[in-house]
C-alpha cells in the first residue's frame, strides 16, 4: 500500500477533528498503516484510498467503505486477535488507537483474491430465496441433498469469527434516573439538553460518537457567523458545569422500553483497545429510567441503486463530506456525485474547496439556481436531469456513466461516461426513527420529503427533534431541539420559565424539494447489465425485490424474509426504505401502503458481555450458605445445589468413595448418632388467634386439636388437589406456631400463605414471618442421639417421657436459647435443634465433638426412603395427590381445604391411578435406575405400555441391598406382583411390588 496519499495536506483547512501531532500506527490484514488521533479506522484506511477491504455476503464481490457511521453495511472487520478479538465491527465506528490490529472477514483465502467470488458468476441460478426451491430430496430420499449441502452453506455464511477463549474483560451495569434523556449530541440534541438544563432538570445527554456535534463535526457549518463547532464547545461547557447534567459520550442508546426505560452502551475502556487501564470496565450498560425522552437521533442518508453500485469507491454523498471535513480524507482524485436533493451541494462545495474536481449529477431538471451557481463558482460541474446509471471498474471505481433520468427511474438516451474514481450518492434522508419505533410510534410517510417520520409520542413522554423529524435546516434543528427540551422538562415537572436563545444559522435560502429516485436500473426485459444492490450487506438486488413481488411475497415482512433485505447487522438502515419503495413500484402501491417494518432493539449491536454485566462466575447467582457452611467446606463436604443453597451431599473422608461415605453415614445414624445441617428447611413463625383456621385451610389434615408443645405433619396442595409441599408444624404457645417447609419451597409457601391471607381471607388474624435465616437447624438422629444430647449443657429433659416423638420444647443449650422438635425423617429417634443462626457453627462443633457423625442429604434420602417417607419433587411431580402416595390418612373428610374439591373429579377419583409402592429388585445386588420405566411385559417393542416409574432407588446398608420407591399404575392392587424396569441399553430388571415401608414398620425405633 503506498502512503496516505488521499489525506488532504495540512494547509487545506479541513479535518478539524484529527490531531496531526499524534500519529498512530496500526495494522490491517497484517500491513502497517498510520492514521491520527481522532481518526476512525475507516477514515485512516480511506486516507490510503478506497481499496476493497471486505467481500459481499453472498456473491463475494469486493467492497469498500460506504458510510461514515452506524449505518455502514460493508466495512465489517475482525478487530484484534486472541481473547480480545471481536468480529463484525464497523470500521466506521472504531476509534483509532495506537497498535490497533484489524482484518477483513468472510474472504478466503484473502480479501484480494476470494474464491467464493464464483458465486457472483453463478449468480443467475442463485436468485433471492433460491434455497427454498432446491435440495428438497429428489433421488437421494428425503432431505439427503440438504444434509449434504447445509454444511457448505453454513461455512460460507457468517462474517467474522467468535473468540476461541473466554473474554478477559469486565462489563459494568449502572442504573440511572433523570427528568430528561436526550439521545443524540448534534445541534438538536445539544439545544434540547440546554433547554432542559436551563429549567433545572436532571438531564442525561447520550451521544454515540467520539465527540458530540453530530453533523456539525464536518466543520463547514456556522452559527452566529462563527464556526458551529465553537457553539458546540460552548454548549458542552455549559452542560458540563450544570450539576444535574450528565453528558455520556461514546454512548449509544440501544433500546427504549415501557415507561421510558432506556438502555445505553457506553464505551469505557474499549476505545483504548487491549491496552486499556485494568481497572476500567470495557463497556458500561446504562439502564436509564427517564421521565421524558428527547430523540435527536438525526437522519441517515440513503443512496439510490444503480448497476455496480457496490464497487469500492462508491459511497454515500454525505459520508464523502464528513471524511473530508472531519478527517481531511478524500479517497479520490476526481469525484462524481449523484443526487436528487439539495444536501449533495454541500459535499460538492467541500470537494471543490479541497481542490478535487467534481461533477454533480442532479436528477432534478431544475436544481435550485442559487445552490447550483454557488457550486459551479466553486469549480463543480452540475448536470441537471442526470443520474448515475453505471459504475465502471471492479475492485475500484474507474469511471462512471450518467444518464438522463425519467421520473419512473428509467433512463433515456445514451449514457455519458464521467471520469471519476470517487462516486458519492445522495438519494434523500431517512430520519433515524428506530428508537421511536421501539416505543410503538408508527412511521408516517411524508410525501414532500419522500421519507418516513416518527409518529407523535408526546403522550408517552417522548419528543423528537431535528433531522430525526425530517428537519432539513440547521435553523430548524436548533429551534426544534430547544422546543423539545423545553417541552420535555415542563412535562417532567420543571416549570421554571427560561428565555429562549436567539441563534442565527447559516442555512441557504435556496431549497428545492427532493425528487424521489430509488433505482436507476431498467425493469424492462433485457434491461441494464450489472447488479444494482439495494441491501449491500445481504447482497439483495433490485431484481431480487422484483422477484419477490412476482412470487407474491409482497407484504414488507415477506419481502424482508424472502430476500433477507434489511436483515443484516446494519438492520437495513440504508436499504429498507428503498426496498419498500421498489416493492411499491413493482406492485403498483405507494411506499406507505406497502407497510413499514417495525424496528426492534437494539439500534446497533450490543455485546453479550455488556448484557450479562458482572453476573458471571461466582456472582452469577448467590450461593446461599448456612451458618455451618465453613465447617462443611473444611471437612470434606461434597456440596449439591438445592435452589440457591449449597448443601452437603456427603462428607467424604480420605480414601473413601462417595458411595462408601454415604453407606458410612447411613450406618452411623442407624447404629449410633448422626448430625445433619437442616438449616435450609423453610421456617415460618405464625402468630395470631386464627392460625389453626389458616392451617386447616391450607393443609389437608385437621389442625383444630394440636396441643401446646406438640407437632404434626401436613401436606399442602394446590386447588387442583396435587401435592406441592409438606412439612411439620409445631405449636409453641397460644396463637404461636412454627411451620416448616421443604428447602426449595420456603419462599413459595410464605408467598402462598400471604396471598390467601391478604387477598381471600383478610378476616383471619394471622401474622406470618420467615425465620428460616434466624435459626440454624441441626438434626441429631440415631439410637445414641439422646445420650449425646443429654451430655450437652442444657435445661431440656431429653427423656422419652418428657420429650416424646412429635413434641416441641423450648429451652437453653450451652447458654443459648433453642427450639427443639422431636421429629424424625430417618426413622430413628431424632431431634431438630434450632438455635440463633450466629451460634449454629458452634452448636454444630459441639455435636461433632460430642460424637455425632455428620451426614449429608444423600444419606438422609436413603434413610427416609427406607421408611417410605416421600420427598416432594421426587415422589411427586405436580400430578400426585395425597391418596396417590398412600397418605389418605392425612386428608380430612370433615373440613374444606385448598384442593379438596378436585378429588371428586372423575380422573382424580379413579381407583387405578398411579400409587406409591415399594420395589425390591429380584437381584438384591443391583440398584434399580431412578427414573426407570416400569412395564408388565419386558418383551414388548416400543412404544411400550409404561405403568409408572422408579422415583427413588438406593443401596441400603441396613437392608443389605437395593430397594426403591415407585409410582405404579394401580400399584396398591399389585402387591406381590413382579414388574420389570427397563434398562437404557435394552433388557429389563425384574422387581417385586411391596409396601413402601422397608424398615422398622411399626415405628418403634423413632419412638424409642
Amino acid at each position: 500500500m503506498s502512503g496516505p496519499q488521499y489525506r488532504l495536506p495540512a494547509h487545506v483547512p479541513m479535518g478539524g477533528r484529527i490531531d496531526r501531532e499524534t500519529p498512530l500506527a496500526f495494522t490491517f490484514n497484517g500491513e502497517t498503516f498510520t492514521g491520527y488521533a481522532g481518526d476512525t479506522l475507516a477514515s485512516a484506511l480511506l486516507a490510503y484510498g478506497a481499496f476493497p477491504l471486505a467481500r459481499g455476503f453472498k456473491y463475494h464481490r469486493p467492497r469498500g467503505i460506504w458510510s461514515a457511521g452506524a449505518e455502514e453495511p460493508n466495512a465489517l472487520v475482525q478487530l484484534e486477535t486472541g481473547a480480545r478479538t471481536q468480529p463484525n465491527l464497523r470500521a466506521t465506528q472504531i476509534e483509532l488507537y495506537g497498535g490497533l490490529a484489524a482484518a477483513s472477514v468472510n474472504a478466503w483465502p484473502s480479501v484480494d483474491f476470494d474464491l467464493m467470488r464464483i458465486n457472483d458468476w453463478l449468480s443467475p441460478i442463485f436468485p433471492a430465496g433460491f434455497y427454498y426451491k432446491t435440495f428438497m430430496g429428489g433421488g437421494f430420499g428425503a432431505g439427503r441433498w440438504w444434509k449434504l449441502f447445509e454444511p457448505f452453506i453454513r461455512r460460507a455464511a457468517g462474517f467474522g469469527k467468535a473468540p476461541s477463549v473466554p473474554d478477559p474483560d469486565r462489563y459494568e451495569r449502572m442504573n440511572a434516573h433523570c427528568d430528561v434523556l436526550v439521545v443524540g449530541g448534534g445541534p438538536a440534541g445539544l439545544s434540547a439538553a440546554l433547554a432542559a438544563a436551563n429549567r433545572g432538570s436532571r438531564v442525561i445527554l447520550a451521544d454515540e460518537q467520539a465527540e458530540p456535534g453530530g453533523d456539525l463535526l464536518a466543520g463547514d457549518r456556522a452559527i452566529d457567523d462563527a464556526p458551529a463547532m465553537d457553539w458546540v464547545a460552548a454548549a458542552l461547557e455549559k452542560l458540563g458545569s450544570a450539576p444535574e447534567v450528565t453528558v455520556l459520550g461514546r454512548t449509544t442508546v440501544a433500546g427504549l422500553y415501557d415507561d421510558n426505560f432506556a438502555t445505553a452502551v457506553e464505551s469505557v475502556g474499549d476505545r483504548f483497545g487491549p491496552g486499556a487501564p485494568a481497572h476500567l470496565p470495557r463497556l458500561r450498560l446504562w439502564r436509564i429510567r427517564a421521565r421524558q425522552i428527547v430523540l435527536a437521533t438525526g437522519a441517515h442518508e440513503r443512496p439510490y441503486a444503480f448497476p455496480n453500485n457496490d464497487t469500492p469507491g462508491v459511497m454515500l454523498g454525505n459520508a464523502v463530506r464528513h471524511y473530508a471535513g472531519r478527517y481531511a480524507v478524500v479517497p479520490g482524485k476526481r469525484a462524481l456525485l449523484g443526487t436528487n436533493n439539495d444536501s449533495a451541494y454541500r459535499t460538492a462545495r467541500m470537494l471543490a474547496d479541497a481542490g478535487v474536481p467534481v461533477t454533480l449529477a442532479d436528477a432534478r431538471e431544475t436544481p435550485p439556481a442559487a445552490l447550483a451557481k454557488e457550486a459551479e463558482s466553486a469549480g463543480a460541474t452540475v448536470e441537471a436531469g442526470f443520474a448515475i446509471s453505471a459504475v465502471l471498474g471492479d475492485r475500484r471505481v474507474r469511471g462512471a456513466k450518467i444518464s438522463r433520468i425519467l421520473p419512473d427511474g428509467e433512463t433515456s438516451g445514451a449514457p455519458r461516461v464521467v471520469e471519476a474514481d470517487l462516486v458519492g450518492v445522495s438519494g434523500g434522508w431517512n430520519p433515524a426513527l428506530h428508537l421511536a419505533s421501539h416505543r410503538g410510534a408508527k412511521p408516517v410517510w411524508r410525501e414532500a420529503q419522500a421519507c418516513f417520520v416518527p409518529g407523535d409520542l408526546s403522550a408517552l413522554g417522548v419528543w423528537a427533534a431535528g433531522a430525526a423529524t425530517g428537519a432539513e435546516t440547521l435553523a430548524d434543528c436548533l429551534e426544534q431541539g430547544y422546543a423539545a427540551g423545553r417541552d420535555a422538562a415542563r412535562a417532567a415537572g420543571r416549570t421554571k420559565r427560561t428565555r429562549k436563545p436567539v441563534l442565527k444559522a447559516d442555512d441557504s435560502a435556496a431549497q428545492a424539494p427532493i425528487q424521489p429516485l430509488w433505482a436507476v436500473t431498467s425493469r424492462r426485459p433485457g434491461g441494464r447489465k450489472g447488479k444494482a444492490f439495494v441491501d449491500l450487506q445481504n447482497d439483495v438486488t433490485v431484481k431480487d425485490v422484483a422477484l419477490a413481488a412476482r412470487e407474491n411475497y409482497r407484504s414488507v415482512e415477506h419481502l424482508k424474509r424472502y430476500t433477507t433485505l434489511g436483515m443484516g447487522t446494519d438492520q437495513g438502515k440504508t436499504a429498507n426504505v428503498i426496498g419498500l419503495a421498489l416493492m411499491g413500484m413493482e406492485s403498483g402501491r405507494a411506499p406507505e401502503t406497502v407497510g413499514t417494518t417495525t424496528f426492534r432493539p437494539p439500534y446497533t449491536p450490543v455485546p453479550f458481555g455488556a448484557l450479562a454485566g458482572r453476573d458471571r462466575g461466582a456472582l452469577f447467582d448467590p450461593a446461599r450458605e448456612t451458618p455451618m457452611f465453613d465447617w462443611h467446606a473444611a471437612n470434606g463436604a461434597v456440596f449439591e445445589d438445592v435452589g440457591q443453597w449449597k448443601r452437603p451431599y456427603a462428607y467424604r473422608r480420605a480414601g473413601e468413595s462417595l458411595e462408601d461415605a454415604i453407606d458410612r453415614e447411613v450406618r452411623a445414624v442407624r447404629d449410633g448418632v448422626g448430625a445433619m445441617d437442616a438449616s435450609t428447611l423453610g421456617k415460618i413463625d405464625l402468630k395470631g388467634p386464627d392460625v389453626a383456621t389458616l392451617l386447616n385451610r391450607v393443609y389437608t389434615n385437621d389442625w383444630s386439636k394440636l396441643k401446646f408443645g406438640r407437632a404434626r405433619y401436613g401436606l399442602m396442595c394446590h386447588e387442583d388437589g396435587m401435592i406441592f409441599d409438606d412439612g411439620v408444624t409445631a405449636r409453641l404457645g397460644d396463637g404461636h406456631y412454627v411451620l416448616t417447609t421443604t428447602t426449595g419451597n420456603a419462599a413459595t409457601v410464605l408467598n402462598w400463605l400471604e396471598m390467601w391471607l391478604q387477598t381471600e381471607w383478610p378476616e383471619l388474624q394471622v401474622f406470618a414471618t420467615s425465620v428460616t435465616e434466624a435459626y440454624a437447624t441441626a438434626t441429631v438422629a440415631g439410637p445414641e442421639a439422646r445420650a449425646l444430647l443429654s451430655r450437652l449443657d442444657s435445661d431440656i429433659d431429653w427423656s422419652d417421657e418428657a420429650f416424646p416423638h412429635m413434641a416441641a420444647v423450648t429451652g437453653t443449650i450451652v447458654g443459648v436459647p433453642a427450639r427443639v422438635f422431636r421429629v424424625s425423617f430417618s426413622g430413628e429417634a431424632s431431634w431438630e435443634i434450632n438455635v440463633p443462626a450466629h451460634y449454629g457453627l458452634s452448636l454444630w462443633q459441639a455435636l461433632i465433638d460430642g460424637g455425632a457423625t455428620p451426614y449429608g442429604t444423600e444419606a438422609m434420602h436413603v434413610l427416609r426412603a427406607e421408611k417410605g417417607f416421600i420427598i416432594v419433587g421426587q415422589e411427586t411431580d405436580g400430578t400426585v395427590t395425597p391418596f396417590d402416595v398412600g397418605m389418605g390418612w392425612a386428608v380430612s373428610k370433615r373440613k374444606d381445604f385448598i384442593g379438596k374439591r378436585s378429588y371428586s373429579r372423575p380422573d382424580t377419583a379413579r381407583p387405578d391411578r398411579k400409587h406409591l409402592v415399594g420395589l425390591l429388585p429380584l437381584d438384591r445386588k443391583i440398584v434399580l435406575p431412578e427414573g426407570g420405566q416400569i412395564v408388565a411385559d419386558s418383551e414388548q417393542k416400543p412404544p411400550v405400555t409404561m405403568l409408572g416409574h422408579v422415583t427413588s432407588s438406593y443401596r441400603s446398608p441396613s437392608l443389605n441391598g437395593g430397594f426403591a420407591l415407585a409410582l405404579l399404575k394401580n400399584g396398591r392392587n399389585r402387591m406381590g406382583d413382579t414388574v420389570h424396569i427397563l434398562k437404557l441399553d435394552g433388557g429389563a430388571d425384574p422387581a417385586r411390588v411391596v409396601e413402601p415401608v422397608f424398615y422398622d414398620k411399626d415405628g418403634g425405633r423413632l419412638r424409642g
Binding site: 428438497m136 428425503a142 432431505g143 453454513r154 412470487e551 448484557l611 438445592v642 388437589g721 412404544p943
Partner: protein, 416 residues
C-alpha cells in the same frame, strides 16, 4: 403448480427469473366455504393443507388478519424436538417430527430441516434424576433420546463451559439427535403454497371480528372484508385464542404472555447443535446464516403487546455467557417478542368445543413451532371427521373438568 428444483432454477435463469409464478394467490374471500380456518400461521396453513391433501376438503379459506406466518410462526427460535415425558405428548410431537422429516419433499419447498440434535443440560442432582426419568420414558415411546456425560457434551459442543467451577456446573445432558431446527418462514410458505395449489383460498389482511352461530352451531364468521359463511370453523390463532373464544361465548384455560427471542450478528460456525438449559434458563442454536438464535422463558404478566421486558434479556444473556464464555464478545443484533398462549398443564388444546362445528387449536405455549405439521394434521382430522384423532383425543378442552391433565411442567420449567 410449477415444481421447484435445481432444474427449474436453471431453466428460469435463462429468462432472468421473470417467469416464476406466484407462490400462492391472493384471492378475495368467497361468500361461503365448507371450512374456514381462522389464523394464517403455520398451524392454520398446515390444517388447511391437510384438509385438502388428506381429507379431500378443498373448499377452504384461511383468514389471516395480517400476513401469513407473521405471528409466532415468524417469531420463534425454530427448535424441533419430540422428547416429551408423557405418552400423549410423545405421540403428537413425534408424529409432527416424522411429518417434518418428509416435509420438504411433500411440499416441494425446502423448509431446511436441520437435524443437528437438541441437547438438554442438567445442572444439579434433581435435574439428573428428572433427565433419567425423561430419557427412559421417551425411549419407551420409541423416540430417540440418550444421556451424555460432561465429557461427551464437551466433545459435541466444544464451545461450552464444562468446568466444575461454574456456579451451576453441567453435570450431564440428554440428547435427541433427530431434533434440530428448520426455517420457520419456509414452513408457513410451503404449507401455503401447497394448500393454495389444492384450491385453498389464503386471504391476508382479513381480520375475523365475530363468530356467527345459530342454535348451538357455527354458521360462519364476520370479517373486516365482510361476512363469510362456513359449515365448520377452526380457530388457530395462538396468542389470541381467548379473544376468538370470547366471540363464541367460550372461556379458555389460557393466559397470553410475551415471549422474547433474539439473534446475534452472523458469525462463522461455532455451535453445531441446539443447547437448552432449564436451570440457568436459556436456549441457543446457530442458524445457517450464522446467527446465534437465543431464547428463554416468558415474561410474567399477561400481554398482547409483542414486546417483553428488558430484565428478561439480561437474565438469559447472563446465562448464555455463563455457559459459553467465548460468546461474551459477540453482539446482540435484534430482539423481538411474540405472544404465547399458555395452558395450566403446559399442553395444548386441540379440541371440539361446546359449539357444534367450532374447533379450537391453541395453548401451545412456547413450543408450538415444533408441532406445526402434527398439529395441522390432527386438527384437520378433527375438523373433517368431527372427532379427534387418537393422537389428539387427550388434548381436549374437557380435561380441565375431568382432571385428566397432561402436566408437562414437571421437568420443563422452560417448555419449547
Amino acid at each position: 403448480m410449477q415444481r421447484y428444483s435445481i432444474f427449474s432454477l436453471a431453466r428460469n435463469a435463462l429468462t432472468g427469473h421473470r417467469n416464476w409464478p406466484q407462490a400462492w394467490r391472493s384471492p378475495a374471500p368467497k361468500p361461503e366455504y365448507d371450512v374456514v380456518i381462522v389464523g394464517g400461521g403455520g398451524h392454520g396453513l398446515a390444517t388447511a393443507y391437510y384438509l385438502a391433501a388428506e381429507h379431500g376438503i378443498s373448499n377452504v379459506a384461511v383468514l389471516e388478519k395480517g400476513w401469513i406466518g407473521g405471528g409466532n410462526t415468524g417469531r420463534n427460535t425454530t427448535i424441533i424436538r419430540s422428547n416429551y415425558l408423557w405418552d400423549e405428548s410423545a405421540a403428537i410431537y413425534e408424529k409432527s417430527l416424522q411429518l417434518y422429516e418428509g416435509l420438504s419433499r411433500e411440499l416441494n419447498f425446502n423448509i431446511m430441516l436441520s437435524q443437528r440434535g437438541v441437547l438438554n443440560l442438567a445442572h444439579n442432582e434433581h435435574d439428573l434424576k428428572e433427565m433419567s426419568r425423561r430419557v427412559r420414558a421417551i425411549r419407551g415411546n420409541g423416540v430417540d433420546s440418550e444421556i451424555l456425560s460432561p465429557a461427551e457434551i464437551e466433545k459435541l459442543v466444544p464451545a461450552i463451559n464444562i468446568s466444575r467451577d461454574l456456579r451451576y456446573p453441567i453435570l450431564g445432558a440428554s440428547l435427541q439427535r433427530r431434533g434440530g431446527v428448520a426455517r420457520h418462514d419456509a414452513v408457513a410458505w410451503g404449507f401455503a403454497r401447497g394448500a393454495d395449489d389444492r384450491g385453498v383460498d389464503i386471504v391476508q389482511n382479513c381480520e375475523v371480528t365475530g363468530i356467527t352461530r345459530q342454535g348451538g352451531r357455527v354458521t360462519g364468521v364476520e370479517t373486516t372484508l365482510g361476512p363469510v359463511k362456513a359449515g365448520k370453523v377452526g380457530v388457530v390463532v395462538a396468542g389470541h385464542a381467548s379473544v376468538l373464544a370470547e366471540m363464541a361465548g367460550l372461556r379458555l384455560p389460557i393466559d397470553s404472555h410475551p415471549l422474547q427471542a433474539m439473534v446475534s450478528e452472523p458469525i462463522k460456525p461455532v455451535l453445531d447443535c441446539v443447547v437448552m438449559s432449564n436451570a440457568v434458563h436459556v436456549y441457543v442454536s446457530q442458524s445457517d446464516k450464522g446467527e446465534l438464535v437465543i431464547g428463554a422463558g416468558i415474561d410474567s404478566f399477561n400481554s398482547y403487546a409483542q414486546r417483553g421486558s428488558w430484565h428478561v434479556i439480561e437474565g438469559q444473556m447472563g446465562a448464555l455467557v455463563e455457559l459459553f464464555p467465548i460468546f461474551s464478545r459477540l453482539r446482540l443484533m435484534r430482539s423481538w417478542g411474540g405472544i404465547v398462549d399458555t395452558c395450566p398443564d403446559a399442553s395444548p388444546i386441540l379440541s371440539k368445543t361446546p359449539v357444534d362445528g367450532l374447533y379450537f387449536n391453541c395453548g401451545w405455549g412456547t413450543g408450538g413451532f415444533k408441532a406445526t405439521p402434527g398439529s395441522g394434521w390432527a386438527f384437520a382430522h378433527t375438523i373433517a371427521r368431527d372427532e379427534p384423532h387418537p393422537i389428539n383425543a387427550a388434548f381436549s378442552l374437557d380435561r380441565f373438568t375431568t382432571g385428566a391433565l397432561i402436566d408437562e411442567h414437571g421437568a420443563a420449567a422452560v417448555a419449547h
